[in-house]
Symmetry: C2
Subunit: 230 residues, 2 copies
Protein backbone atom coordinates (compact mmCIF):
# COMPACT_ATOMS: atom_id res chain seq x y z
CA UNK A 1 0.00 0.00 0.00
CA UNK A 2 1.27 3.42 -0.94
CA UNK A 3 2.53 5.47 1.97
CA UNK A 4 1.82 8.75 0.26
CA UNK A 5 -1.31 10.39 1.62
CA UNK A 6 -1.70 10.68 5.35
CA UNK A 7 0.84 9.40 7.76
CA UNK A 8 -1.50 7.30 9.83
CA UNK A 9 -2.13 3.80 8.61
CA UNK A 10 -5.89 3.84 9.06
CA UNK A 11 -6.11 6.93 6.85
CA UNK A 12 -4.35 5.06 4.09
CA UNK A 13 -6.77 2.20 4.56
CA UNK A 14 -9.58 4.73 4.33
CA UNK A 15 -8.22 6.14 1.08
CA UNK A 16 -7.73 2.67 -0.34
CA UNK A 17 -11.30 1.64 0.50
CA UNK A 18 -12.58 4.84 -1.07
CA UNK A 19 -10.49 4.16 -4.15
CA UNK A 20 -11.90 0.67 -4.44
CA UNK A 21 -15.44 1.90 -4.04
CA UNK A 22 -14.97 4.30 -6.94
CA UNK A 23 -13.02 1.88 -9.12
CA UNK A 24 -15.22 -1.13 -8.51
CA UNK A 25 -18.38 0.89 -8.87
CA UNK A 26 -19.68 -0.43 -5.56
CA UNK A 27 -23.16 0.70 -4.69
CA UNK A 28 -25.34 0.89 -1.62
CA UNK A 29 -26.07 -2.63 -0.47
CA UNK A 30 -22.78 -4.11 -1.66
CA UNK A 31 -20.43 -5.75 0.79
CA UNK A 32 -16.87 -4.90 1.69
CA UNK A 33 -14.28 -7.64 2.30
CA UNK A 34 -13.94 -8.84 5.86
CA UNK A 35 -11.66 -7.08 8.32
CA UNK A 36 -9.11 -9.89 8.34
CA UNK A 37 -9.02 -10.14 4.56
CA UNK A 38 -8.64 -6.39 4.12
CA UNK A 39 -5.87 -6.34 6.70
CA UNK A 40 -3.98 -9.06 4.87
CA UNK A 41 -4.53 -7.56 1.41
CA UNK A 42 -3.32 -4.15 2.53
CA UNK A 43 -0.58 -5.57 4.74
CA UNK A 44 -1.74 -3.72 7.82
CA UNK A 45 -2.99 -4.70 11.22
CA UNK A 46 -6.60 -5.50 11.80
CA UNK A 47 -6.94 -2.62 14.25
CA UNK A 48 -6.07 -0.13 11.51
CA UNK A 49 -8.76 -1.60 9.30
CA UNK A 50 -11.21 -1.41 12.17
CA UNK A 51 -10.47 2.26 12.81
CA UNK A 52 -11.01 3.01 9.14
CA UNK A 53 -14.32 1.15 9.22
CA UNK A 54 -15.31 3.08 12.32
CA UNK A 55 -14.77 6.32 10.41
CA UNK A 56 -16.84 5.07 7.48
CA UNK A 57 -19.55 3.98 9.87
CA UNK A 58 -19.53 7.39 11.54
CA UNK A 59 -19.95 9.01 8.14
CA UNK A 60 -22.97 6.80 7.52
CA UNK A 61 -21.33 4.95 4.65
CA UNK A 62 -21.20 1.42 6.01
CA UNK A 63 -23.06 -0.65 8.55
CA UNK A 64 -21.33 -3.50 10.31
CA UNK A 65 -22.99 -6.72 11.38
CA UNK A 66 -21.53 -9.73 13.07
CA UNK A 67 -22.22 -13.34 12.27
CA UNK A 68 -22.11 -15.13 9.01
CA UNK A 69 -23.85 -15.03 5.69
CA UNK A 70 -24.71 -12.40 3.11
CA UNK A 71 -25.77 -9.85 5.73
CA UNK A 72 -22.63 -10.08 7.82
CA UNK A 73 -19.70 -7.75 7.57
CA UNK A 74 -19.44 -4.16 6.43
CA UNK A 75 -22.20 -3.24 4.00
CA UNK A 76 -22.35 0.00 2.06
CA UNK A 77 -25.29 2.10 3.13
CA UNK A 78 -26.58 5.66 2.96
CA UNK A 79 -27.39 7.36 6.23
CA UNK A 80 -26.09 10.91 6.46
CA UNK A 81 -28.87 11.78 8.93
CA UNK A 82 -27.20 9.89 11.74
CA UNK A 83 -23.87 11.60 11.14
CA UNK A 84 -25.43 15.03 10.96
CA UNK A 85 -27.55 14.43 14.03
CA UNK A 86 -24.50 13.40 16.04
CA UNK A 87 -22.61 16.39 14.68
CA UNK A 88 -25.31 18.82 15.78
CA UNK A 89 -25.81 17.23 19.17
CA UNK A 90 -22.13 17.19 20.06
CA UNK A 91 -21.50 20.72 18.86
CA UNK A 92 -24.45 21.89 20.92
CA UNK A 93 -22.92 20.15 23.93
CA UNK A 94 -19.69 21.98 23.29
CA UNK A 95 -21.57 25.27 22.82
CA UNK A 96 -20.05 25.57 19.36
CA UNK A 97 -23.57 25.95 18.03
CA UNK A 98 -26.71 27.58 19.37
CA UNK A 99 -30.28 26.41 19.15
CA UNK A 100 -31.05 29.67 17.42
CA UNK A 101 -28.75 28.87 14.53
CA UNK A 102 -30.33 25.46 14.14
CA UNK A 103 -33.82 26.96 14.07
CA UNK A 104 -32.79 29.60 11.54
CA UNK A 105 -31.23 27.00 9.26
CA UNK A 106 -34.39 24.96 9.49
CA UNK A 107 -36.45 27.99 8.57
CA UNK A 108 -34.20 28.58 5.58
CA UNK A 109 -34.55 25.01 4.33
CA UNK A 110 -38.30 24.93 4.80
CA UNK A 111 -38.85 28.24 3.08
CA UNK A 112 -36.78 27.13 0.15
CA UNK A 113 -38.42 23.71 0.06
CA UNK A 114 -41.91 25.15 0.19
CA UNK A 115 -41.13 27.41 -2.73
CA UNK A 116 -39.70 24.54 -4.75
CA UNK A 117 -42.42 22.09 -3.80
CA UNK A 118 -45.18 24.46 -4.86
CA UNK A 119 -43.86 24.26 -8.41
CA UNK A 120 -44.90 20.65 -8.70
CA UNK A 121 -44.77 18.33 -5.72
CA UNK A 122 -44.81 14.58 -6.19
CA UNK A 123 -48.02 12.89 -5.10
CA UNK A 124 -45.99 10.60 -2.88
CA UNK A 125 -44.94 13.47 -0.65
CA UNK A 126 -48.24 15.31 -0.56
CA UNK A 127 -49.82 12.03 0.48
CA UNK A 128 -47.29 11.72 3.29
CA UNK A 129 -48.17 15.26 4.38
CA UNK A 130 -51.88 14.44 4.39
CA UNK A 131 -51.27 11.30 6.42
CA UNK A 132 -49.19 13.26 8.93
CA UNK A 133 -51.97 15.83 9.26
CA UNK A 134 -54.48 13.14 10.17
CA UNK A 135 -52.05 11.51 12.58
CA UNK A 136 -51.48 14.84 14.33
CA UNK A 137 -55.23 15.29 14.69
CA UNK A 138 -55.53 12.03 16.56
CA UNK A 139 -52.32 12.37 18.57
CA UNK A 140 -52.90 11.81 22.29
CA UNK A 141 -49.69 13.29 23.68
CA UNK A 142 -47.31 16.11 22.75
CA UNK A 143 -44.65 13.49 22.05
CA UNK A 144 -46.90 11.76 19.57
CA UNK A 145 -47.94 15.05 18.00
CA UNK A 146 -44.36 16.13 17.53
CA UNK A 147 -43.42 12.80 15.94
CA UNK A 148 -46.03 13.35 13.24
CA UNK A 149 -45.21 17.04 13.03
CA UNK A 150 -41.66 16.05 12.19
CA UNK A 151 -42.95 13.66 9.55
CA UNK A 152 -45.03 16.48 8.05
CA UNK A 153 -42.15 18.90 7.80
CA UNK A 154 -39.79 16.23 6.49
CA UNK A 155 -42.31 15.29 3.83
CA UNK A 156 -42.51 18.96 2.90
CA UNK A 157 -38.75 19.07 2.52
CA UNK A 158 -38.72 15.80 0.57
CA UNK A 159 -41.27 17.30 -1.80
CA UNK A 160 -38.63 19.77 -2.97
CA UNK A 161 -36.59 16.86 -4.28
CA UNK A 162 -33.17 17.69 -2.84
CA UNK A 163 -31.86 14.74 -0.84
CA UNK A 164 -29.06 16.78 0.71
CA UNK A 165 -31.53 19.28 2.12
CA UNK A 166 -33.72 16.41 3.26
CA UNK A 167 -30.83 14.84 5.13
CA UNK A 168 -29.98 18.14 6.82
CA UNK A 169 -33.64 18.71 7.65
CA UNK A 170 -33.90 15.28 9.29
CA UNK A 171 -30.89 16.00 11.45
CA UNK A 172 -32.25 19.41 12.43
CA UNK A 173 -35.61 17.87 13.31
CA UNK A 174 -34.00 15.21 15.47
CA UNK A 175 -32.06 17.86 17.30
CA UNK A 176 -35.10 20.05 17.84
CA UNK A 177 -37.40 17.22 18.95
CA UNK A 178 -37.16 17.82 22.70
CA UNK A 179 -37.45 21.54 22.18
CA UNK A 180 -40.60 21.04 20.12
CA UNK A 181 -42.22 18.72 22.65
CA UNK A 182 -41.67 21.29 25.38
CA UNK A 183 -43.09 24.01 23.18
CA UNK A 184 -46.28 22.02 22.59
CA UNK A 185 -46.55 21.37 26.33
CA UNK A 186 -46.30 25.08 27.03
CA UNK A 187 -48.74 25.96 24.29
CA UNK A 188 -51.31 23.55 25.72
CA UNK A 189 -53.12 23.01 22.44
CA UNK A 190 -52.28 22.36 18.81
CA UNK A 191 -55.18 23.93 16.97
CA UNK A 192 -53.19 26.92 15.72
CA UNK A 193 -50.33 24.73 14.59
CA UNK A 194 -52.66 22.43 12.71
CA UNK A 195 -54.38 25.39 11.06
CA UNK A 196 -50.93 26.51 9.89
CA UNK A 197 -50.14 23.04 8.63
CA UNK A 198 -53.30 22.93 6.57
CA UNK A 199 -52.50 26.34 5.09
CA UNK A 200 -49.05 25.08 4.14
CA UNK A 201 -50.47 21.96 2.58
CA UNK A 202 -53.01 23.89 0.59
CA UNK A 203 -50.47 26.43 -0.58
CA UNK A 204 -48.16 23.71 -1.83
CA UNK A 205 -50.81 21.71 -3.62
CA UNK A 206 -52.87 24.52 -5.09
CA UNK A 207 -51.15 27.84 -4.43
CA UNK A 208 -48.20 29.81 -5.70
CA UNK A 209 -44.64 29.40 -4.45
CA UNK A 210 -44.91 32.78 -2.72
CA UNK A 211 -48.00 31.56 -0.85
CA UNK A 212 -46.17 28.46 0.29
CA UNK A 213 -43.15 30.41 1.50
CA UNK A 214 -45.38 32.83 3.37
CA UNK A 215 -47.32 30.01 5.02
CA UNK A 216 -44.15 28.29 6.20
CA UNK A 217 -42.67 31.53 7.48
CA UNK A 218 -45.85 32.33 9.39
CA UNK A 219 -45.97 28.87 10.92
CA UNK A 220 -42.35 28.63 12.02
CA UNK A 221 -42.51 32.13 13.40
CA UNK A 222 -45.34 30.94 15.63
CA UNK A 223 -43.73 27.64 16.56
CA UNK A 224 -40.30 29.14 17.25
CA UNK A 225 -40.83 32.76 18.28
CA UNK A 226 -37.09 33.34 18.27
CA UNK A 227 -36.76 32.80 14.56
CA UNK A 228 -36.20 35.92 12.52
CA UNK A 229 -38.22 36.02 9.33
CA UNK A 230 -36.07 36.68 6.30
Amino acid sequence: MAKLTGTRTFEQVLAEIERRIILSGLRVGDRLPGERQLAEELQVGRSSVREALRVLETLGLVECQVGRGPNAGAILTYDPDGTLTDLLRLNLSLSSLTMREIIDTRLMIEQWSAGQAAHGPHAEHTRAMTAALAAMDSAATPEEFVAHDMAFHIALTDAAGNTLNSAIMRALSNTLRHYAVEAVHRLGHTADLQADHRLIHTAITTGTPADAVAAVTEHLGRAYPLATPM
Copy 2:
Protein backbone atom coordinates in the same frame (compact mmCIF):
# COMPACT_ATOMS: atom_id res chain seq x y z
CA MET B 1 -19.33 1.44 33.28
CA ALA B 2 -23.04 0.98 32.69
CA LYS B 3 -23.91 -1.54 30.00
CA LEU B 4 -27.19 0.14 29.18
CA THR B 5 -26.95 2.11 25.96
CA GLY B 6 -25.44 0.47 22.93
CA THR B 7 -24.06 -3.00 23.02
CA ARG B 8 -20.68 -2.17 21.61
CA THR B 9 -18.08 -1.10 24.09
CA PHE B 10 -16.74 1.82 22.10
CA GLU B 11 -20.24 3.29 21.93
CA GLN B 12 -20.43 3.24 25.68
CA VAL B 13 -17.06 4.94 25.84
CA LEU B 14 -18.41 7.51 23.40
CA ALA B 15 -21.45 8.15 25.57
CA GLU B 16 -19.30 8.41 28.68
CA ILE B 17 -16.95 10.92 27.07
CA GLU B 18 -19.92 12.97 25.90
CA ARG B 19 -21.37 12.83 29.43
CA ARG B 20 -18.12 14.06 30.88
CA ILE B 21 -17.87 16.87 28.37
CA ILE B 22 -21.30 18.10 29.39
CA LEU B 23 -20.83 17.57 33.12
CA SER B 24 -17.34 18.98 33.32
CA GLY B 25 -18.21 21.90 31.09
CA LEU B 26 -15.24 21.16 28.88
CA ARG B 27 -14.67 23.66 26.10
CA VAL B 28 -12.82 23.85 22.82
CA GLY B 29 -9.12 23.73 23.58
CA ASP B 30 -9.43 21.55 26.67
CA ARG B 31 -7.72 18.19 26.83
CA LEU B 32 -9.17 14.75 27.28
CA PRO B 33 -7.42 12.15 29.45
CA GLY B 34 -4.95 9.89 27.68
CA GLU B 35 -6.06 6.71 25.99
CA ARG B 36 -4.55 4.47 28.65
CA GLN B 37 -5.99 6.45 31.51
CA LEU B 38 -9.47 6.46 29.96
CA ALA B 39 -9.22 2.73 29.32
CA GLU B 40 -8.35 2.06 32.94
CA GLU B 41 -10.95 4.44 34.36
CA LEU B 42 -13.72 2.92 32.24
CA GLN B 43 -12.40 -0.61 32.64
CA VAL B 44 -12.24 -1.26 28.90
CA GLY B 45 -9.51 -2.06 26.45
CA ARG B 46 -7.47 0.63 24.84
CA SER B 47 -8.73 -0.35 21.40
CA SER B 48 -12.28 0.51 22.41
CA VAL B 49 -11.15 3.92 23.60
CA ARG B 50 -9.29 4.42 20.36
CA GLU B 51 -12.32 3.58 18.25
CA ALA B 52 -14.38 6.06 20.24
CA LEU B 53 -11.74 8.73 19.73
CA ARG B 54 -11.70 7.95 16.03
CA VAL B 55 -15.43 8.64 15.90
CA LEU B 56 -15.01 11.92 17.76
CA GLU B 57 -12.19 12.88 15.43
CA THR B 58 -14.33 12.08 12.40
CA LEU B 59 -17.05 14.32 13.79
CA GLY B 60 -14.49 17.12 14.10
CA LEU B 61 -14.73 17.24 17.88
CA VAL B 62 -11.21 16.28 18.87
CA GLU B 63 -7.76 16.38 17.35
CA CYS B 64 -5.14 13.87 18.38
CA GLN B 65 -1.44 14.56 18.61
CA VAL B 66 1.39 12.32 19.64
CA GLY B 67 4.26 13.22 21.84
CA ARG B 68 4.37 14.82 25.23
CA GLY B 69 3.33 18.07 26.80
CA PRO B 70 0.23 20.25 26.87
CA ASN B 71 -0.43 19.84 23.16
CA ALA B 72 -0.30 16.06 23.15
CA GLY B 73 -3.30 13.80 23.36
CA ALA B 74 -6.90 14.36 22.37
CA ILE B 75 -7.85 18.04 22.40
CA LEU B 76 -11.38 19.32 21.97
CA THR B 77 -11.77 21.29 18.78
CA TYR B 78 -14.41 22.60 16.41
CA ASP B 79 -14.15 21.58 12.80
CA PRO B 80 -17.45 20.48 11.29
CA ASP B 81 -16.22 21.52 7.82
CA GLY B 82 -13.93 18.55 7.56
CA THR B 83 -16.67 16.12 8.52
CA LEU B 84 -19.15 17.64 6.13
CA THR B 85 -16.64 17.75 3.30
CA ASP B 86 -15.85 14.07 3.75
CA LEU B 87 -19.54 13.31 3.95
CA LEU B 88 -20.27 15.08 0.67
CA ARG B 89 -17.29 13.61 -1.14
CA LEU B 90 -18.04 10.03 -0.13
CA ASN B 91 -21.72 10.28 -0.89
CA LEU B 92 -20.87 11.71 -4.29
CA SER B 93 -18.58 8.73 -4.87
CA LEU B 94 -21.42 6.42 -3.97
CA SER B 95 -23.80 8.37 -6.23
CA SER B 96 -26.03 8.97 -3.23
CA LEU B 97 -25.84 12.66 -4.01
CA THR B 98 -25.66 14.64 -7.22
CA MET B 99 -23.64 17.73 -8.02
CA ARG B 100 -26.89 19.42 -8.85
CA GLU B 101 -28.22 19.00 -5.33
CA ILE B 102 -25.03 20.42 -3.90
CA ILE B 103 -25.23 23.44 -6.18
CA ASP B 104 -28.88 24.03 -5.32
CA THR B 105 -28.18 23.85 -1.61
CA ARG B 106 -25.36 26.32 -2.06
CA LEU B 107 -27.69 28.65 -3.92
CA MET B 108 -30.20 28.37 -1.09
CA ILE B 109 -27.62 29.23 1.56
CA GLU B 110 -26.18 32.14 -0.37
CA GLN B 111 -29.57 33.62 -1.15
CA TRP B 112 -30.55 33.41 2.48
CA SER B 113 -27.20 34.74 3.66
CA ALA B 114 -27.27 37.66 1.26
CA GLY B 115 -30.70 38.65 2.50
CA GLN B 116 -29.62 38.42 6.13
CA ALA B 117 -26.29 40.12 5.57
CA ALA B 118 -27.91 43.10 3.85
CA HIS B 119 -29.69 43.89 7.10
CA GLY B 120 -26.46 44.82 8.79
CA PRO B 121 -23.23 43.04 7.94
CA HIS B 122 -20.26 43.20 10.28
CA ALA B 123 -17.37 45.27 8.99
CA GLU B 124 -15.10 42.28 9.51
CA HIS B 125 -16.86 40.30 6.82
CA THR B 126 -17.34 43.08 4.32
CA ARG B 127 -13.64 43.75 4.65
CA ALA B 128 -12.92 40.11 3.89
CA MET B 129 -15.14 40.39 0.82
CA THR B 130 -13.30 43.48 -0.38
CA ALA B 131 -9.95 41.79 0.11
CA ALA B 132 -11.15 38.75 -1.84
CA LEU B 133 -12.32 40.99 -4.68
CA ALA B 134 -8.87 42.55 -4.98
CA ALA B 135 -7.18 39.15 -4.80
CA MET B 136 -9.40 37.84 -7.59
CA ASP B 137 -8.47 40.82 -9.75
CA SER B 138 -4.80 39.97 -9.47
CA ALA B 139 -5.18 36.21 -9.71
CA ALA B 140 -2.93 34.69 -12.35
CA THR B 141 -4.56 31.27 -12.74
CA PRO B 142 -8.08 29.87 -12.55
CA GLU B 143 -7.00 27.91 -9.47
CA GLU B 144 -5.94 31.09 -7.74
CA PHE B 145 -9.06 32.91 -8.83
CA VAL B 146 -11.31 30.16 -7.49
CA ALA B 147 -9.49 30.10 -4.16
CA HIS B 148 -10.32 33.77 -3.63
CA ASP B 149 -13.77 33.32 -5.11
CA MET B 150 -14.42 30.73 -2.42
CA ALA B 151 -13.16 33.15 0.21
CA PHE B 152 -15.54 35.81 -1.13
CA HIS B 153 -18.60 33.60 -0.99
CA ILE B 154 -17.66 32.21 2.41
CA ALA B 155 -17.25 35.74 3.75
CA LEU B 156 -20.69 36.53 2.36
CA THR B 157 -22.11 33.55 4.23
CA ASP B 158 -20.23 34.46 7.39
CA ALA B 159 -21.73 37.94 7.19
CA ALA B 160 -25.15 36.42 7.87
CA GLY B 161 -23.91 35.30 11.26
CA ASN B 162 -25.02 31.67 11.26
CA THR B 163 -22.06 29.40 11.97
CA LEU B 164 -23.98 26.27 10.99
CA ASN B 165 -24.70 27.67 7.55
CA SER B 166 -21.10 28.83 7.30
CA ALA B 167 -19.86 25.33 8.06
CA ILE B 168 -22.16 23.81 5.46
CA MET B 169 -21.13 26.47 2.94
CA ARG B 170 -17.45 25.71 3.49
CA ALA B 171 -18.04 22.03 2.87
CA LEU B 172 -20.06 22.76 -0.25
CA SER B 173 -17.33 25.08 -1.55
CA ASN B 174 -14.65 22.48 -0.97
CA THR B 175 -16.70 19.94 -2.87
CA LEU B 176 -17.34 22.30 -5.77
CA ARG B 177 -13.76 23.54 -6.04
CA HIS B 178 -12.69 21.36 -8.98
CA TYR B 179 -15.97 22.00 -10.71
CA ALA B 180 -15.48 25.75 -10.34
CA VAL B 181 -11.92 25.69 -11.63
CA GLU B 182 -13.06 23.85 -14.74
CA ALA B 183 -15.87 26.32 -15.22
CA VAL B 184 -13.46 29.27 -15.13
CA HIS B 185 -11.19 27.47 -17.59
CA ARG B 186 -14.09 27.01 -19.99
CA LEU B 187 -15.27 30.58 -19.54
CA GLY B 188 -11.81 31.90 -20.41
CA HIS B 189 -12.24 35.17 -18.54
CA THR B 190 -13.53 36.37 -15.22
CA ALA B 191 -14.77 39.86 -15.98
CA ASP B 192 -18.46 38.93 -15.83
CA LEU B 193 -17.99 37.07 -12.58
CA GLN B 194 -16.15 39.98 -11.01
CA ALA B 195 -18.84 42.40 -12.14
CA ASP B 196 -21.37 40.14 -10.41
CA HIS B 197 -19.24 40.03 -7.30
CA ARG B 198 -19.09 43.80 -7.11
CA LEU B 199 -22.84 44.04 -7.54
CA ILE B 200 -23.28 41.59 -4.68
CA HIS B 201 -20.88 43.50 -2.49
CA THR B 202 -22.59 46.80 -3.20
CA ALA B 203 -26.04 45.36 -2.60
CA ILE B 204 -25.01 43.97 0.78
CA THR B 205 -23.28 47.11 1.99
CA THR B 206 -25.65 49.75 0.63
CA GLY B 207 -28.69 48.05 -0.87
CA THR B 208 -31.82 46.28 0.26
CA PRO B 209 -32.04 42.58 1.15
CA ALA B 210 -34.04 41.99 -2.02
CA ASP B 211 -31.24 43.58 -4.09
CA ALA B 212 -28.69 41.32 -2.44
CA VAL B 213 -30.75 38.18 -3.05
CA ALA B 214 -31.27 39.16 -6.67
CA ALA B 215 -27.56 39.82 -7.19
CA VAL B 216 -26.59 36.44 -5.73
CA THR B 217 -29.23 34.62 -7.75
CA GLU B 218 -28.07 36.31 -10.94
CA HIS B 219 -24.44 35.48 -10.24
CA LEU B 220 -24.88 31.82 -9.34
CA GLY B 221 -27.19 31.34 -12.27
CA ARG B 222 -24.32 32.48 -14.48
CA ALA B 223 -21.63 30.53 -12.66
CA TYR B 224 -23.66 27.31 -12.47
CA PRO B 225 -26.08 27.34 -15.39
CA LEU B 226 -27.73 24.19 -14.10
CA ALA B 227 -29.03 25.87 -10.97
CA THR B 228 -32.73 26.59 -10.94
CA PRO B 229 -33.60 30.01 -9.58
CA MET B 230 -36.16 29.87 -6.81
